[in-house]
């Protein structure tokens, strides 16, 4: 519906996921949400529930342990959704690039819309990124977005489950 589209930007709800971060970026995200920087003035709520959120805020180079959860959380967010990669590790792998136990950034697994640099990225940058993500959210359609890669049982049975069959069955507007 055309009428409701402008309101996406006014209430972007955030899901914050730590994919093996050192907590530096997490602390900055929490600082941005706290009274001093006050992200709530843009209508942002940290929901913690993928089914009700619009923006996926990921920190950390993707460790082998966290990548299944990353992909699963991403596929649980209903469209329209936007992924924001916060920090150098999440965008490129940062200081962990090329190490044996990490993937270099989340864009091997899920499509990223906004990259935020910095180690750790500052609250101002995160606020900018979320405002930008709101704009992208407004321009997106409700078409189903899939992760690039799936894992294990999820991969084998995932194609037969409703979420992935839905992509073929459901008509979009």
């Amino acid at each position: 519906m055309k009428f409701f589209t402008p309101f996406r930007k006014k209430s972007p709800w955030v899901l914050h996921y730590n994919a093996g971060s050192c907590n530096g970026c997490d602390i900055e995200i929490l600082a941005a949400l706290s009274p001093k920087y006050d992200l709530e003035r843009f209508g942002v709520i940290n929901t913690g529930n993928p089914k009700q959120s619009d923006i996926f805020l990921v920190t950390g180079p993707v460790t082998y342990r966290s990548r299944e959860r990353l992909v699963e959380l991403y596929s649980q967010i209903p469209e329209p959704k936007v992924v924001v990669a916060v920090g150098s590790c999440t965008t490129t792998g940062g200081v962990f690039r090329g190490m044996y136990n990490v993937e270099d950034g989340i864009d091997r697994y899920i499509p990223v819309d906004v990259y935020v640099p910095g180690c750790a990225s500052s609250p101002q940058l995160i606020i900018d990124a979320l405002v930008k993500a709101g704009d992208i959210l407004e321009s997106k359609s409700k078409e189903i977005e899939k992760p690039f890669k799936l894992f294990g049982t999820l991969e084998t049975i995932g194609n037969k489950l409703s979420r992935f069959n839905m992509a073929q069955k459901v008509k979009h507007d």
């Binding site: 009428f3 209430s11 009274p35 209508g43 913690g48 209903p78």
Partner: protein, 272 residues
């Protein structure tokens, strides 16, 4: 005219919720969201793709909202107080059933907590109705509202009601039902899109429901009722900003030991 108010009850509750978010932001010395933020959220949720676990689960949310709205309508029309309390209980039971109907662990925890909250505040609500009956001689809200002078006689009962308001509007120290990120929203967890919106709007209706109980204590003078509601609103938000969450067991204990004792003492006093 009264039908218009009933029809606009969710919108009214939305204004209350929006105003509360702005006020809480001001209490924390920050700017806070726009006043109309709840409506922006609602419009956005209408535009999201909806994921449904199974259809009875989705239907129970709609039924919860509808029954709650009906009980609000009953309050505005001045029906029987006990009838309204049990209608509200029915609405809560629908929500709890919805929580148990999915396999999510968090949903089950949330439903358990909703039950605990029900166990805690329901006796107090009924005792409030009994107290109002003893003073006014009727359970009908329309007749209760024609008399006045409830507050001096029912002051401990009003304090008991003040203790259960945070449970109903899910504020600290008794916000165990949603518990922010601890149980990820409790029974709300598996809802998304349009069906989450029904739960979001039923939260607005909960505000109207519990604050109208506060309003009844004003009796015939609407000014006193308005002042009571405004004072309670401020108090609940101040306490919310100043306290941490208590454990669910402790909540039930606190309510049973303090609130019910206060209410029973008051009712015994009125009877004697």
């Amino acid at each position: 005219m009264i039908w218009l108010w009933i029809a606009l009850a969710p919108v009214l509750g939305g204004f209350v919720y929006g105003g509360e978010r702005v006020m809480r932001a001001r209490m924390q010395r920050r700017q806070g969201p726009p006043f109309l933020q709840p409506f922006y959220d609602m419009f956005k949720l209408l535009d999201k793709r909806t994921l449904i676990v199974h259809s009875p689960h989705a239907l129970l949310a709609v039924a919860h909202f509808a029954v709650l709205w009906f009980s609000i309508g009953a309050i505005f029309l001045g029906w029987n107080l006990l009838y309204i309390i049990f209608l509200h209980l029915f609405a809560q039971m629908l929500l709890i059933l919805a929580g148990y109907s999915v396999r999510s662990v968090y949903s089950h925890v949330g439903a358990n907590r909703e039950l605990l909250m029900l166990v805690a505040y329901e006796p107090v609500l009924i005792l409030v109705a009994v107290g109002l009956y003893l003073v006014s001689g009727s359970f009908e809200i329309s007749e209760i509202m024609q008399q006045s002078g409830y507050l001096p006689k029912l002051l401990p009962l009003f304090a008991a009601l003040a203790m259960i308001v945070p449970i109903k509007v899910k504020k600290s120290p008794f916000d165990i039902g949603e518990a922010h990120q601890e149980i990820v929203g409790g029974v709300e967890i598996e809802y998304s899109g349009v069906f989450y919106e029904f739960l979001y709007m039923s939260r607005f209706l909960e505000y109207i429901f519990i604050y109208s109980f506060v309003f009844i204590f004003g009796g015939a003078s609407l000014w006193l009722g308005g002042i009571l509601v405004a004072g309670m609103f401020l108090l609940v938000n101040l306490v919310d900003n100043a306290t941490a969450r208590v454990r669910s067991v402790h909540m039930v204990k606190i309510i049973y030991w303090v609130a019910i004792t206060l209410a029973v003492i008051n009712i015994v006093g009125v009877l004697l």
